[in-house]
Symmetry: C2
């Protein structure tokens, strides 16, 4: 056991997975949870998601040794302000937001002396949301990034790290600005682009919705999966990681125009070279154990007769 | 058995899957295969991919009742010209190219009287290629689009359809131009965009390649999968479906700029609405049985302790 009481604020996919994983691994004496939506609290109680479902922010954080803010980035500041007077001395306060600089700016001013604020971000998730969507193995072999500052207490950091490693996550630390540009490349821009492509398909009049859905297996469906993620979470990501996202999107548009021009002018050599280079990056991801080598994500069954 | 002899030209992913599936379902008396690469022919013989590995185009099509062109779109015309004098009267000639108008233009002029040319396109595949990558169930419950013309012989069409349905594919027919715009939306543009995003990531200096690979699970890796597909095949797709692809890419760039502007001006309501609409399309794809509802394509294991 690493913590006496763990408090989870917001009971969506990440918090419900944390609840399952913390119990599975025996990392806390008690897991308490709060969500501002009474229906989510009712479901959490019904399925026994946490030991204690609390009806207020002050209740859930009382005596907690670890408080995890698992709410959209846009409301982190308001929640931090409300819980601040009720945090226990020596407690660790962390979060699971996809953007880090904005969270630091919103939360840090409210953190009382004697409470250790260590922002974090688990690179794990699915396109599903809500208190029923969590599962214990979500973080296994996935990265959990922490962005401590120069003044972060090393003992608190070690304790949080031990808890996350107890969930079988891999922990890395970096500064918040570097986190935000890295995620703009690997996550935020890919998501915006997927949303855009799905939106375009929705507008094309010459191809019916029914046809797009029927024939989606040829590439489009992979885009719709990531474009089905939680809208509130993603709105907040783009509004709070504006600078890095717009930087990468600008480069993307530039690059897209270069490829469009190669298509228009019939420059097959340029296209072939480009498509060959991108293959190598895929190989690197598989070799690093960050995805399956099974064709089509293992979605296809190779057994005849199944 | 539907055909006496089936001839497969080009022994990559699609042809090798056709070979396995045709044998699995007992749809032909003999399956013969040819590839212009001697190494591919050697591997095909070694693994017993087809009944007969032929060393020339004239040999493979001789006496064949069905000839399948499974080569990149850019070489369809040259192959058709070479096989034309050797095709059996009454034979069906089809292809598996991802673009249809360009294939019709390249192949049709070479087709002799008495041979039934019916272009086709299986919406199935993985990011892998080569004679070892095929498997018998690749086409199960996937669409196989045929683009017959007004003069196509109904009996030949019925026979080809029976063969494809024997592979457990779902067969639809449409005209070639409509095929090409539909696939531009559902397949060609999503692939180009994935290639572009992977290319951008490759160029960003502030984030190392190692970091991009390490942290790819947060969205980027889905793009790298489709950007790992065969470069020659995709070069030919874009060069031969130029008009439809550029039309859709133009709309995509327009739409992307609208979203970029919403991010820049902080228009959270617009972003939230947009991201909510795209969720509905995903739901339609799952309801239509074209993808799994399992989170993250079922890539995650939900069993604790595995």
């Amino acid at each position: 056991m690493i913590f006496g009481k763990v408090a989870l604020i917001g009971m969506g996919l990440i918090a419900s997975s944390l609840a399952h994983a913390t119990k599975w691994k025996g990392l806390a004496g008690e897991v308490a949870g709060y969500d501002r939506d009474p229906e989510v609290r009712r479901i959490a109680a019904e399925i026994g998601l946490v030991d204690t479902v609390c009806d207020s922010l002050s209740d859930v954080v009382r005596d907690a040794d670890l408080v995890m803010l698992c709410v959209p980035v846009g409301v982190m500041g308001a929640v931090a302000a409300e819980i601040a007077p009720h945090l226990k001395q020596g407690a660790i306060l962390s979060d699971t937001g996809s953007v880090k600089q904005a969270v630091v700016e919103a939360v840090a001013p409210h953190v009382p002396q004697g409470v250790h604020f260590i922002p974090g971000h688990p690179l794990a998730g699915t396109e599903q949301s809500g208190p029923r969507s969590g599962f214990a193995t979500l973080f296994v072999n996935r990265w959990w990034l922490l962005t401590p500052s120069e003044t972060t207490d090393p003992q608190a950091l070690a304790k949080l790290r031990a808890y996350l490693e107890g969930l079988e996550a891999n922990v890395d630390t970096m500064d918040a600005p570097h986190h935000d540009i890295t995620l703009a490349v690997t996550s935020h821009c890919p998501h915006l682009i997927a949303y855009t492509m799905v939106g375009v398909a929705d507008h094309v009049r010459r191809v019916s919705h029914q046809e797009i859905i029927k024939y989606s297996a040829s590439g489009f469906r992979d885009f719709t999966r990531i474009a089905a993620s939680d809208p509130t979470m993603w709105r907040d990501v783009f509004l709070t990681n504006k600078e890095a996202t717009l930087d990468i999107l600008g480069r993307f548009a530039e690059e897209l125009f270069v490829l469009q021009r190669a298509i228009r002018t019939g420059d097959g050599e340029m296209l072939h070279d480009y498509f060959t280079r991108t293959r190598a990056i895929r190989r690197g991801i598989i070799d690093a154990g960050q995805d399956t080598d099974a064709p089509d994500f293992g979605r296809v069954s190779k057994q005849a007769g199944e």
